[in-house]
């Protein structure tokens, strides 16, 4: 019996950024259909989903904006992991807000994000 994985969902905020568009192209290049979801409707999407039912790709900034206005960021991030089976988040640049998200989603394993100093 083949395990059927969920189709990838690309989450964006307000409108897909150029990098979101590139990620969508890459997903489709592999022969996969890609559903795009605006962060403003994402809560409803998550609410209706079974646990560990989603494969979600997004930029760290999108996740930051999505949970920024929610009353409990930590609970939102935990809920995200509750509903998703796979999460791919890119673009963790230095800054407290994104470092917090990385920390929360890694159960505290990630403490900070820093610029690379090597040549």
């Amino acid at each position: 019996m083949t395990l059927v994985q969920p189709e990838p969902i690309l989450l964006y905020h307000t409108r897909p950024t150029p990098d979101d568009v590139c990620l969508k192209r890459l997903i489709e290049f592999f022969g996969l259909s890609c559903r795009t979801v605006d962060a403003s409707t994402f809560d409803a999407e998550l609410h209706g989903a079974a646990e560990h039912d989603h494969c979600i790709l997004a930029s760290a900034v999108t996740i930051d904006r999505w949970c920024h206005n929610l009353p409990d960021r930590a609970a939102a991030l935990d809920g995200l992991r509750q509903k998703a089976s796979f999460l791919f988040l890119y673009g963790f640049t230095p800054g407290k807000s994104l470092a917090y998200i990385a920390g929360r989603l890694s159960d505290g394993a990630i403490e900070d994000v820093r610029a690379l100093t090597g040549a």
Binding site: C22, A84, F86, F92, G108
Partner: protein
């Protein structure tokens, strides 16, 4: 690259190479207690891509702030430059969606040696030594054979090739191997050149019992889009070249990143050009294997100057890739296709050459929806499935048909083209033949005599500097003087 999650990092597991792009990349600072988070990629000892698992959710966190645009126009892909913007996302998708992604089932490899005639030795290359080394190190080679040499074969070497087809094979390297002979834009000349090369190779097959792959390696790597059309019209399988870009792309436009992420570039008239590489960092070959390309390495006789030590070291490193199959170029061309699972019963299959063996690895019968990019510049005469003509459709430059393949068996698919290209009378007069003969003899003198003598080599280089006004020598040729072009 971490080797803890080889299912995710695949061919790149355990590799180290330069890939920093400071403008888009950052590093994570991790606590001493990792809580199950595993760094998949580190840059300068800082985790750059991390996977964390909790309950039934795997979370992949990447610092890179950009994603590669696969529609970007490029001349080639340097893995170090594109890695952070491309590979983590691609690895994630391949790992999560597995057979639902386009993928190749096999990992092929071949070491191509350009130019040598089938004589006991040529320059630093000795066939018996090569064979012994192939047996010792576990690899296979293809000789890119110059058709002009078809009547100059040593019987003992021919016997070696006949007896050891598991290690040694032949493909076509130009026709006369004169300067840029396949750069012409004259379709009639190109068509006749391809036919002359084929006739010579067929004679070699008839006279010496040596089969060959209808795969073209262009002399000096130079070719035109017309050359690809001529090869297609003559039912060649493919071309293999260091660069997939013709001298002038014309109406086909520039290549994009996406063109380099498939087994072969087919943009130019739908004829496949497979990319080969000189021995270099493993990451370049890991990149090829990751995207379902065969691992094709190339060198000339001078690479054997050290008795094969460099080659042995290179092959040992290459053989660290798991499940690598070294085989002849012909076999590789026929089995390098992509597939993806649509359902338990249906597989999509994307062909590149005109002759494929499609394998159903499943323990149940499957229907394969077969597609192949076609531009219509060379008419299709028929499509054969196991030798029987089959119906096909053309939809938006894509040839498509379906075939059912029983469990654990294979099907042979051939696309036969009609050659309606014009012909030209090639110059075969005394002057022309003498020119080609002199060109070939000078090449062999260079490889057999000059290259093997430090004194003569230095003299030839000095002479060349004197004539040309510069002393630049292609480092790939291992200081071979360019009396004639390789």
């Amino acid at each position: 690259m971490s080797s803890f999650e080889p299912g995710i990092t695949r061919e790149f597991s355990g590799l180290s190479f330069s890939c920093t792009r400071n403008d888009t990349d950052s590093g994570f600072v991790c606590s001493a207690n990792s809580n199950g988070a595993v760094p998949l990629v580190t840059i300068d000892d800082m985790p750059f891509w991390v996977v964390a698992e909790r309950n039934l959710c795997k979370t992949f966190l990447l610092t890179c702030s950009a994603v590669a645009d696969i529609q970007e126009q490029v001349n080639g892909i340097d893995v170090g430059t594109y890695f952070s913007r491309l590979l983590p996302a691609a690895m994630f998708l391949r790992w999560v969606f597995k057979t639902r992604c386009w993928h190749g089932k096999r990992r092929f490899a071949n070491f191509i040696i350009d130019d040598p005639p089938l004589k006991r030795s040529y320059g630093y290359l000795n066939y018996r030594n090569l064979l012994a080394q192939m047996d010792r190190c576990e690899f296979a080679s293809t000789i890119a054979f110059i058709p002009w040499n078809y009547r100059r074969t040593d019987n003992r070497v021919a016997q070696l090739f006949r007896e050891r087809m598991d290690r040694l094979s032949l493909c076509v390297h130009g026709c006369d191997h004169t300067t840029a002979e396949f750069s012409s834009t004259d379709l009639a000349v190109l068509n006749s050149k391809v036919q002359l090369a084929s006739a010579r190779m067929n004679s070699l097959e008839r006279l010496d019992g040596l089969s060959y792959s209808k795969t073209m390696v262009f002399p000096q790597g130079r070719f035109s889009t017309g050359a690809l059309t001529a090869l297609k019209a003559n039912n060649y399988l493919a071309a293999v070249n260091s660069s997939p870009s013709p001298a002038y792309s014309g109406v086909y436009g520039s290549l994009t990143v996406a063109d380099f992420l498939t087994p072969a570039v087919t943009r130019h008239g739908g004829f496949p050009v497979f990319v080969r590489r000189y021995p270099a960092g493993l990451e370049q070959f890991a990149f090829d294997l990751f995207f379902g390309k065969p691992l094709l390495a190339v060198e000339h006789h001078a690479y054997f100057k050290d008795g094969g030590a460099r080659l042995a070291e290179f092959v040992t490193r290459i053989n660290s890739f798991k499940k690598l199959q070294w085989t002849g170029l012909h076999d590789i061309m026929k089995k390098s296709y992509l597939e993806r699972e649509i359902s338990n019963q249906i597989t999509a299959c994307r062909l590149y050459t005109n002759h494929h063996v499609i394998e159903n690895h499943a323990e149940r019968d499957r229907t394969f929806i077969v597609t192949k990019f076609e531009t219509g510049d060379v008419p299709i005469q028929r499509v054969l499935v196991n030798g029987v003509a089959t119906r096909f459709m053309m939809i938006d430059n894509v040839l498509e048909f379906a075939t059912r393949i029983p469990a654990l068996s294979s099907t042979v698919v051939q696309v036969v083209y009609r050659n309606s290209l014009p012909h030209a009378e090639l110059e075969r007069g005394f002057a022309s033949r003498s020119h080609v003969w002199a060109h070939r003899m000078l090449s062999e003198f260079r490889d057999n005599v000059l290259c093997r003598s430090g004194f003569l080599l230095a003299g030839a280089q000095a002479l060349r500097r004197g004539f040309s006004g510069h002393g630049a020598v292609d480092p790939r040729q291992n200081h071979v003087p360019s009396i004639v072009n390789k």
